[in-house]
């Protein structure tokens, strides 16, 4: 039976809504027992809660000066990196001529500090020679713990230094190793500090350096591929050859045209070489993060870096590589707590304003829609619960922070959410004006209004998605809120408002067209329609006006209806004759 199937599908929708609400609440509740970041209270942004102010000063070599352009560029890159770690609306500004102030909510951990300050210059260089991380003269094994077994093969004994016989022909040529370089390599102790912070290496000459853990040291050839040629970077777990996911975290790189070309050329050259010259070292700020063996010629422009990464550190490196390296290195000059710029009173007043607004909306809709106000208020409450849970969920999973502008955005969203109901209700009223009973009117109105709601929400969502993907800072925070409320609007209309109205349409109070139901059929039918295509001309109307009105009705028929009407009239005429 059609009627009971309506009830069934309405109930099904409402159950789905409960599943979503309890599912979200359950996830957060379960999360809060295992993860300290999960909580039912959304986290607040810098302006409402305060956070940490980090002053960065550039690491400069003697005689080096930082230019305004470099500083602006650094600010831009740091902002993108901070944004990539969540929608926190952090503040990144220059101070004076040299410093950068980064203000972020909460207390930063090591990974966040690294994300902010590391210049993240990535280079790909071929390995010429490698050995354990302490000077080769030393026999003491204290510093030579196991080399990273998965990455570098056992370090080899250093070959005796000889004067190069010819000038080097390519990056892997051992002729790069002059006695000076050999000596530097022999003397290098990875346990000591051997690099100036912020040191910039000449990309055209070999580099003598250690890996990040100090386990092995290397002589590397000139730079073959530069980090600037990376077009995109992401983190993820390594998939094994059988397609199963492993626990090893990796950073995936996509190269641009230049990078792809360079990478292809160099893997072609390295592939047939002997150990360790078939190894390809990837250096980050001068330290080798990994030196994998070339196992194939890579021509598709993508590469994967594995090393001693976990989930967070691989994300940090991916974000650093994605937004490019800083033109200069920075060190943390000071790190202090800062208070909120807007007091608690601002947040309280904001919420109060929201409450007043909500009450006004309820009063207005009760005035306009009478009994239907129950549906409006109910839908708004459901929307509020959903938005609250989603914000709590996203501030746990995505680092979302609620700022004052965000609160204002949510209050504004009340209006846009209610509009969906208004469009729907007005359509139902239109259908009743055309003489339908309430149950049919609700179904017809739904089919028509859902088109409008979907189209207008699609516009809002396009705005949100585009701005979120392409912008930074406050605009991104706004886009996030807009997208969130648009999705909630759709969920509420589909899974609450519509099913509820379907069920209510079957109750006597609403279907009888009670004056307090908001669907007062007498009031609505007063327009003169008795049904589609038929017309009851109000006696008070002038002849001309009545004609005009009936013409209007005629145009609202479909072509098929019009033809049918003409055929009927024709039949009437012939019948009468």
């Amino acid at each position: 039976m059609a009627a009971s199937s309506t009830v069934k599908s309405a109930r099904k929708s409402l159950i789905w809504l409960l599943v979503i609400i309890f599912g979200l609440a359950g996830l957060i509740g379960f999360g809060s027992t295992t993860d300290e970041n999960a909580s039912f209270t959304p986290k607040l942004a810098l302006d409402l809660q305060g956070g940490t102010q980090i002053i960065l000063s550039p690491l400069l070599l003697d005689g080096q000066a930082v230019t305004t352009e470099q500083l602006d560029q650094a600010v831009s890159i740091i902002r993108q990196r901070v944004d990539a770690s969540g929608v926190s609306e952090s503040q990144v500004i220059t101070q004076g001529d040299t410093n950068i102030i980064v203000s972020i909510p909460g207390i930063p951990d090591e990974n966040t500090l690294a994300l902010i300050k590391a210049s993240a210059k990535l280079e790909f260089r071929p390995v010429l020679i490698t050995s354990a991380g302490t000077p080769s003269a030393e026999v003491d094994g204290a510093g030579t713990s196991d080399p990273d077994a998965t990455e570098s093969p056992a370090p080899e004994e250093t070959p005796a230094a000889e004067e190069p016989t010819a000038s080097p022909t390519d990056g892997s040529d051992l002729n790069w190793i002059t006695p000076e370089i050999q000596k530097e390599f022999d003397d290098l102790d990875c346990a000591s500090v051997f690099r100036e912070p912020g040191q910039i290496d000449d990309p055209a000459v070999p580099l003598v350096t250690c890996d990040v853990n100090g386990f092995s040291k290397f002589i590397l050839g000139p730079v073959e591929v530069d980090g600037a040629n990376i077009s995109d970077a992401s983190n993820g777990t390594v998939t094994s050859s059988t397609g199963a996911s492993t626990n090893t975290w990796a950073v995936n790189l996509e190269f641009d045209e230049v990078g792809t070309e360079g990478f292809s050329t160099v893997t072609q050259r390295l592939f047939p070489l002997e150990q360790p010259r078939n190894q390809f070292a990837i250096t980050l700020d001068g330290f080798v993060i990994t030196a994998p063996t070339t196992q194939a010629v890579i021509t598709n422009g993508s590469a994967q870096i594995t090393g001693s990464f976990d989930r967070d550190s691989s994300k940090v490196l991916a974000d650093q590589l994605k937004y490019g390296s800083l033109p200069i290195g920075f060190e943390v000059q000071s790190q202090e707590n800062i208070s909120a710029t807007l007091g608690q009173d601002q947040l309280t007043s904001g919420l109060l304003a929201g409450l007043i607004g909500l009450i006004l909306v309820v009063i207005y809709s009760a005035f306009q829609y009478r009994g239907l106000a129950i549906v409006t208020v109910g839908s708004l409450l459901v929307a509020a619960v959903l938005v609250y849970l989603l914000i709590a969920f996203l501030s746990w999973r995505q680092g979302y922070r609620l700022s004052m502008a965000g609160v204002a955005g949510l209050i504004v969203a009340i209006g846009i959410t209610v509009d969906s109901f208004i469009v729907y209700f007005e359509r139902v009223r239109d259908e009743i004006r055309e003489g339908r009973n309430l149950e049919v009117a609700v179904e017809n109105a739904w089919k028509r209004s859902i088109r409008t709601i979907l189209a207008s929400d699609a516009v809002s969502f396009t705005a949100a998605a585009t701005l979120f993907l392409l912008t930074v800072g406050n605009v991104r925070g706004f886009a996030f809120t807009l997208g969130l409320t648009t999705i909630v609007d759709l969920i509420v209309v589909f899974l609450f408002t519509h099913p509820l109205l379907r069920l209510l349409a079957r109750t006597k109070f609403f279907s009888s067209g009670n004056p307090w139901s908001g669907f007062d059929s007498k009031a609505l039918k007063a327009s003169g329609y008795v049904g589609r295509g038929q017309f009851r001309v109000a006696p008070t109307l002038s002849q001309g006006k009545a004609l005009k009105v009936s013409k209007e009705a005629a145009t609202r028929q479909t072509i098929a209806e019009r033809k049918a009407q003409a055929a009927l009239e024709e039949a009437d005429k012939s019948g009468g004759n």
Partner: protein, 316 residues
């Protein structure tokens, strides 16, 4: 109340009709005058009053204070320059950071001394420096790029949905009208343009398009097959659609504006200046203009663009 419902019935049936499309020269005239005012008046007044997030400014730092409350610092700054709205933050345990708009050397020095006196400290414990813009050129250029991409995407989306590019053009015309007028009122009132205000403006952009799509969806429905109709014209069908959605437009804008009015009232009269007032003003004006333009700009422009197409013209 029942009057309003009757009004809705009458609009729906066409018994009462507001001639929106027919009087379009009047609406165009009003729009042109408003847009010219919104462009010329701010220029005469010297442009927008951008906040420190856009222009950068001065920063003071006081170390070793006993009381880190914001009010002391705010009073001290305003005793020198009553116009300045400082952003006061406590830093660490016993320091206060004050950010103001860019000040000249003399005022900076005066504020430095005023702050030192207010906290009872030697003037040497107050340092000052210049700070850059948080909303720098890079943020602006990214925002503008994002906007352009968004407008193109939405135009294509609407063109597909409505099966005509002319609706996209009409919607964008209404959008431009809304944004120019809202921005113009900002410049006229001399309210500080903060990131919150810009976000308010972006919300208007979304709202204006959203509202236009709702009206246009009814227009699309009413004008389906109008070229086969003997006795209605394209323009009269668009006008009927606008009238039929008028009750919805009024209800929606009242419902959308009520919460914004609440924020504006609380923000402006209870809290004084702040994020809430900045964003609510932009929204309050923009939503009224946005609803108005969907009816009185977008629909007439659409009729203008289409009524001269041969298929609508032949059977007049």
């Amino acid at each position: 109340m029942s009057k309003f419902k009757d009004f809705g019935n009458d609009l729906y049936s066409g018994r009462v009709s507001i001639d929106v499309v027919g009087r379009r020269k009047l609406w165009y005239g009003i729009a042109i005058v408003l847009v010219i005012i919104a462009i010329v008046a701010p220029v005469a007044r010297g442009g927008f009053n951008f906040g420190i997030e856009f222009r950068g400014g001065s920063e003071f730092r006081i170390d070793g204070v006993g009381d880190t409350s914001q009010q002391v610092a705010r009073d001290a700054v305003q005793s020198v320059d009553p116009e300045t709205q400082p952003i006061v933050t406590s830093v660490g345990v016993d320091s206060v950071r004050i950010q103001t708009e860019q000040l000249n050397d003399v005022t900076t020095e005066e504020i430095r001394i005023a702050l030192a006196n207010a906290y009872g400290l030697p003037s040497g414990s107050v340092t000052s420096s210049f700070i850059g813009a948080n909303w720098g050129a890079d943020v602006t250029s990214k925002a503008i790029n994002g906007l352009i991409v968004f407008l193109i995407l939405v135009s294509v989306l609407m063109a597909f949905y409505f099966r005509t590019f002319k609706m996209s053009i009409a919607a964008l015309a209404a959008l431009a009208h809304d944004v120019v007028i809202t921005a113009g009122i900002y410049a006229l009132t001399g309210f500080e343009v903060t990131p919150a205000a810009v976000i308010g403006l972006l919300t208007i952009l979304g709202y204006s398009l959203y509202d236009t799509v709702v009206v246009f969806d009814k227009v699309r429905e009413n004008t389906l097959g109008v070229e086969f109709s003997e006795d209605t014209t394209f323009a009269s069908q668009v006008n009927l659609a606008v009238n039929q959605t008028l009750v919805r437009s009024i209800n929606t804008s009242v419902v959308a504006i009520l919460p914004v009015a609440a924020i504006l009232f609380i923000g402006a009269f209870v809290l004084g200046v702040g994020t809430l007032r900045d964003i609510a003003l932009a929204l309050f004006i923009g939503m009224i203009v946005g609803t108005y333009s969907s009816i009185f700009i977008a629909s007439p422009v659409y009729v203008h663009l289409r009524e001269n197409e041969p298929r609508f013209k032949t059977k007049k």
